[in-house]
Symmetry: C2
Subunit: 169 residues, 2 copies
Amino acid sequence: MDDQAIPLDAETKAVEMPEDHREELRLWLRLLTCTTLIEGEVRSRLRERFDVTLPRFDLMAQLDKAPDGMTLSDLSKRMMVSNGNLTGLVERLVASGHILRTASLTDRRATVISLTESGRGEFRTMAAEHELWIADLFGDLTEKDRSDLMRLLGKTKLSARRAIQGEGQ
Amino acid sequence: MDDQAIPLDAETKAVEMPEDHREELRLWLRLLTCTTLIEGEVRSRLRERFDVTLPRFDLMAQLDKAPDGMTLSDLSKRMMVSNGNLTGLVERLVASGHILRTASLTDRRATVISLTESGRGEFRTMAAEHELWIADLFGDLTEKDRSDLMRLLGKTKLSARRAIQGEGQ
DNA sequence: GATAATTGCTTTAAGCTTAAAATAACTTGG
DNA sequence: CCAAGTTATTTTAAGCTTAAAGCAATTATC
């Protein structure tokens, strides 16, 4: 920690100098800005157009991909939200008739959640329009931009997972 | 909606066929996943390490960049959150001694928010460590990856803004 | 088969977030 | 000046979100 009087050569500097990571920070902030911007717009359009919240839409989107339903734990992992969060969300969606709870046949702790007929219908209608919004929001990117971005985000995802997994050691 | 018997050539198809935009949708979901993943990790480290929430940290980060303080409206725009949201957040940060409210000299409606001495000190300590976390989370990306990603996200940001601005017409 | 550890879910308390409505202060155009 | 419109902020109601604690059911281990 105490700086020696002896001057450091470039190589030593590269190793010893505390690098600044402002570039990564700016990258993170831009990533966050993009997401917040798009998410906010989608949220507001879902509300205006269908009077539905984003979390509700997200939950239904997961269920639409699982014709036989999913347990709360599966949903929790897929949606990356806490278990307790889902309890309330599911409650409200059951109350509004969009989803159904059934006791699991194989595990008496678990409940299986699935879309009702009308829930699925409503979701599909919203999803079709939602897809167009997304296409428009990303509309100025070329095909190549999109595939490059996809690849780089894939790499980012892996990097983050590595950093997160690695910490517990 | 009724399909004609006459087969469409490729060009006509490209124009008339309702394109599917699953690619853009997957891109959006991946963007969201990356952000959620990183944001969740940062949130949890801030809590464990400094017992502070992400919104509090974000607010202080804005203030640290504005030595003379900012009004609530400025903060609201920068942080992309609602005005009402800030009222409560600011209240709690004042209560904990991190920030200060002063009446604006030029506008009696407005209040100027700024960091206290200790608030700034605490923030800088957290920010230094936070920067290392981010560097680590993005650590598997090369210099080129990062600059490519930065550029593509910049393009995405502009595209989204265009789509959002354009809607009001 | 009994004990221990894990898993699935709910509850709780606290805080975050939004949209919408309300209040107060400022600005602008006659 | 003054009415009309805008801007800065707060309040409200509803819902979202998390972490942590707790309970019940399952799985693993001996």
